[in-house]
Amino acid sequence: MIKVTYVAPDGTATTLEAEPGSSVMQTAVANDLDGIVGECGGAMMCATCHCYVDPAWQDRTGARSSDEEEMLEGAATEVTEASRLSCQIRLDPALDGLVVHLPEEQH
């Protein structure tokens, strides 16, 4: 099992266990976590699974694709260097312990 920690804007941290191969978005949605909507189901069509990767993990989560980049432009909150669509972060054992921060809103 891979552990992922989601930190809400108020600082509340929730750690979830993820199936290898699932995404950061899928793991959140499967566990009913508030703060990640993921309405399009991971098709990169809605930008409602925006998250900020913790600085300690940014090297390991990899770079954004150009399609992801474009869709991120539409996110409801400020987009920074740390911004990712969480549907595009696939979890493997190397990401065990990953920390992501959640935005104020997704719509």
Partner: protein, 391 residues
């Protein structure tokens, strides 16, 4: 494995007048059912509808036989998959992102909503459906698309004609003649505006598509605008009418929505309760299985999101309008690659702007006779009249 059972009794008239008791029965008895009247296999449980929409390889949107093609005089993104869909979708979705809507468009939407709500006569009985819901949805859309030169009446007529043509499964030539005439009008307007939208970009969908670094073909730009006209008026119109009905027939909830300013939750509940787009079709690309039944290649399955949105597995008393549900994971906007491109616009315009404005201006608005409200539609559904007293 057996094929899904075949029903020969359910009629399209029944599904159009009140499908909900039928869907409730199907969820309990036959969540996978071939319904002869529709020529499709109906899926009425949320897990099934979501699984289908999330798997576009197995359940394709591409339908070579669709009457949408002659109705829109184009093969549109609605009926494409994969990269072909993505490239056309991306071209228009740039103009529909939350950021664009919030930063660039919200002030205009507010002005338009104020203008349309402001001209409603106080103290009279008014059909809100025809006096507000339709025209305001049309006006807002005309601006988003970059064709504000079109009148409300034109926008609404084109929309209905495109929908009627797209649903012309009987292939009646007279319906395509009507959609041809509307296509001529739309194409003429788009061509007339092209130069200006290109040289003076205004953030509209038309400008965004015309000025993209690698634009999609002109035929597909027209097709995208038409899809948005066909798919962008009925839904906010019907959502608004449904939510107003839900709130006026549940005054205790209305009071609480007001107190908490929970208009966005009222919006989500309204479209869950009666999804403006009730069903979608997908073509099966390989022999497969759903809910324990064999689904052969070439079959067309119909996801009934109207039913998924009331699924007992997800909702307590899903048949009732109840704004303050704990969770509301509805599928009114669909899911998967074809997830509604207008979702953000609808949430903002209807949920955050129009509803609070309307109830603020007419705090004692009432629905004298809820029984007089007629609901209609199998594919698209909502009240077709909404006589309210404005006070």
């Amino acid at each position: 494995m057996a094929l899904a059972p075949l029903d020969t009794e359910i009629t399209l008239d029944q599904l159009s007048s009140d499908p909900y008791p039928i869907y409730r029965r199907l969820r309990a008895e036959s969540p996978v059912l071939r319904v002869a009247a529709t020529g499709r296999t109906l899926l009425t449980k949320a897990a099934l509808t979501k699984a289908v929409k999330d798997n576009p390889d197995l359940f394709s949107s591409d339908d070579p036989q669709t009457p949408m093609r002659p109705a829109f005089r184009a093969h549109t993104l609605m009926r494409k998959d994969g990269a072909a869909h993505f490239v056309e979708r991306k071209a228009i979705s740039k103009a529909l992102t939350p950021k664009m809507i919030k930063s660039d468009w919200a002030p205009l939407y507010e002005k338009l909503a104020e203008e349309y709500v402001g001209r409603l006569p106080r103290g009279e009985t008014v059909d809100l459906f025809s006096a507000l819901c339709g025209p305001l949805a049309a006006r807002i859309l005309a601006h988003i698309l970059g064709i504000p030169e079109a009148s409300d009446a034109q926008m609404q007529r084109w929309s209905q004609v495109l929908i009627d043509g797209a649903g012309n499964f009987g292939w009646k030539p007279e319906l395509f003649a009507i959609s041809d005439a509307a296509n001529d009008e739309m194409d003429a307007l788009f061509s007339e505006l092209e130069e200006r939208r290109r040289t003076e970009p205004d953030g509209s969908a038309y400008s965004a598509m015309l000025t993209a670094p690698d634009p999609i073909p002109m035929s597909q730009i027209h097709a995208n605008i038409k899809i948005a006209i066909g798919g962008g008026i009925n839904e906010p119109r019907d959502a608004l009418a449904t939510i107003v009905y839900g709130l006026l027939t549940n005054p205790d909830q209305l009071a609480e929505v007001r107190a908490q300013e929970a208009w966005d939750r009222a919006f989500e509940e309204g479209i869950r309760w009666v999804a403006p787009i009730q069903v979608s079709s997908r073509r099966v690309t390989e022999d497969t299985e759903l809910g324990g039944f064999e689904i052969p290649k070439g079959d067309t399955v119909m996801t009934v999101q109207a039913s998924a949105n009331r699924d007992e597995d997800l909702y307590e008393d899903g048949e009732s309008f109840f704004v303050f549900r704990d969770k509301n994971p509805h599928q009114a906007f669909g899911n998967g690659p074809h997830h509604c491109a207008g979702a953000h616009v609808a949430r903002r315009t209807v949920g955050k702007i129009i509803l609070p404005l309307l109830f603020d201006r007419f705090p004692d608005m009432r629905l004298p006779d809820p029984q007089a409200v007629i609901w209609k539609g199998f594919g698209f559904r909502g009240p077709i009249t909404l006589p309210v007293v404005l006070a």
